[in-house]
Symmetry: C2
Subunit: 367 residues, 2 copies
């Protein structure tokens, strides 16, 4: 790479000192018209641009914000990150992005590097906000930052979905549709406080609704075909009539696996997802899910960080109950009282359950 011109080169060419160049190009002090012109010409001829590195050293500010998320392959994070990024650019900041792939090691390493890079602030989704080495580091250095999607520890700002309440809403939806025996499907259950809170909220409300405690199915790889897992799970729990998947992709995966196993969704098995990614509404059956607004959270968290940097008033985080809404969809169908009564709601029912088919159609039509 060709060595870029510095302010000194410009000064030389324009026949003046570097201070003059700085003043002219930054419009930050007096300069004669003649000098002005010479400097401008020289800068132009040399394709000159100020080096932000020099500036940063001098000003001890980098106009850079670090962003750490698990993975932008998940559109929830991708949307949030893009929202934050837009906020940053508008305010003249750049974003350094690191994806941790849900690894705590990568997380702390990323935080360290970002601190070394002297970021002015940080935006992050950590694996476990209660116990994050990286987060502690940031706090100790009193670096402006905001959490995203994590449950906020005491005294912290976090732009997040109320996972607990949202999961409870899913339990209510199942209850309203007469489901009693449900399962919870999670990915990265151990390394994600989000998944755990969803399970807790779901299980609690199931109990309150007089449903049985949900059976837990954990899987550890995304690309995995769930068919075998699902098969085993339903073998172990033949009474299940519904599954709450901790995100929409998992929900899709379950639906596909169910199809392979000749289990009809929603006739034989109802599915509810979480996140509300847009394809959920484009497919058939549409996906019942918790709709969230990742972009809103991302922009909010971005603005929060900026406000901490410039000392302005931070935006208000949304009310907990406004962070999500239950979105009905064809993948969740009511269980008739009848099928419920005679305890015949096995995962592999006799092929012609006329009642339930009707129920499905009714729901379809009600859309």
């Amino acid at each position: 790479m060709r060595q870029a011109a510095t302010i000194k080169d410009v000064g030389q060419r324009a026949g003046c000192g570097v201070a003059t160049v700085s003043r002219v190009l930054n419009n930050t002090g007096p300069a004669s018209a003649k000098m002005r012109e010479r400097v401008l010409a020289a800068a132009d001829a040399l394709d000159f641009q100020f080096s932000e590195v020099g500036r940063s050293l001098q000003s001890s500010t980098t106009r850079t914000i670090g962003c750490v998320v698990p993975s932008i392959e998940n559109p929830v994070y991708a949307d949030a990150v893009q929202g934050a990024q837009a906020v940053f650019v508008n305010a003249g900041y750049q974003m350094l992005l690191t994806c941790t792939n849900y690894s705590a090691d990568a997380e702390i390493h990323a935080v360290r590097t970002l601190i070394a890079k002297q970021v002015d602030g940080m935006l992050l989704t950590v694996g476990d906000a209660q116990n994050s080495e990286g987060l502690n580091l940031i706090r100790r250095r009193q670096l402006p930052h905001s959490l995203l999607f994590n449950a906020a520890p005491a005294g912290q700002t976090s732009w997040s979905v109320d996972d607990h309440a949202a999961a409870a809403a899913v339990a209510d939806a199942f209850a309203k549709n007469n489901h009693v025996h449900t399962g919870f499907l999670a990915l990265n259950f151990l390394s994600s406080d989000r998944a755990r809170r969803r399970f807790e909220g779901f299980a609690e409300r199931c109990m309150q609704n007089g449903m049985t405690p949900p059976a837990l199915l954990e899987v550890d790889d995304d690309g995995l075909d769930l068919t075998a897992h699902l098969h085993g799970f339903l073998e172990d729990h033949p009474e299940l009539t519904g599954i709450f998947a901790s995100n929409d992709f998992l929900a899709f995966a379950v639906i596909r696996s169910a199809r392979k196993l000749s289990i009809d969704v929603p006739r034989d098995l109802s599915i509810v997802g979480f996140d509300g990614i847009k394809v959920g509404q484009m497919v058939e059956p549409s996906l019942a899910t918790i709709a969230t607004t990742p972009r809103v959270l991302g922009t909010g968290a971005g603005k929060t960080v900026l406000s901490m940097i410039d000392g302005s008033a931070p935006p208000n985080v949304p009310q907990k109950e406004q962070t999500f809404s239950f979105r009905a969809g064809g993948s969740l169908a009511p269980l008739t009282a009848e099928s419920k009564d005679d305890g015949k709601v096995a995962a592999f029912p006799p092929s012609n359950d006329q009642t339930r088919k009707t129920a499905k159609i009714q729901q379809e039509r009600s859309k």
Copy 2:
């Protein structure tokens, strides 16, 4: 934010000069065991980390690479970016990310800023590689860089799908299924060289296959409900039996709109997408599409940039024909010889003719 400790502070506390601190902490020169210990202790006590800004100024290298893509809301870019990011982190580089939202203005602005930030290299998907101000700037400065998803201009590296050939494969797929009259649906047609190349490749092969030239439907907003557009389009082109959407999301959108218009996919209308996002295989009907490997392209492009920086041998870009593959799916069905013969394969039954005429006229007038 608390003022972070500098190498000077550490030296002071350890009772030695800054050079010694640097040598000890970097393992870059001799040091007595005693000194070593004192420095380590001091650094620890002060939570010291080297400032990369100081280092960068001194070494005129930032270990930072700029990445410019249209939008990571599109999983194709998100996957590629994440792949590149992983490559960078492994090599000790950080990534500055900017999303342009398909705006040429944002593109050049991002490039300028990234240059000012002294990035060591750049990875980018521009709107139009033949005519990109930002790309010119980068070339003029001889900054190590690689294109991603763009068709490579002469003498440039680009990790991209062979859009032209892939689109031709779609035409072949339609032909093999006896389709003759097809349409092409594009988003951001004007600002994306990708969309244009796909159209060209598709149109060319349609001709070669003895099909009629594809009708072009451009839309400009993503969130848009396509129903009205689709209705008008099919009014204008009642002979169409298949639509090639320039990306999978558009394909989903068309399918959903078709459903609203009581047009069955694939019976009344076949749809083929582009990109091969994973949900395409999870839904019913599954989406026929061009499967691509964004992550492979992203990591490849990332490695290319790194190799240009350190002068090592660049990875080989894949053979053009290996950059995609046609993936069959339920959304593309054969047209029977019969239906083809009597030309009865209109999207609307004859009874709707009156309505359609009206609608068409209305659309004409609204233009």
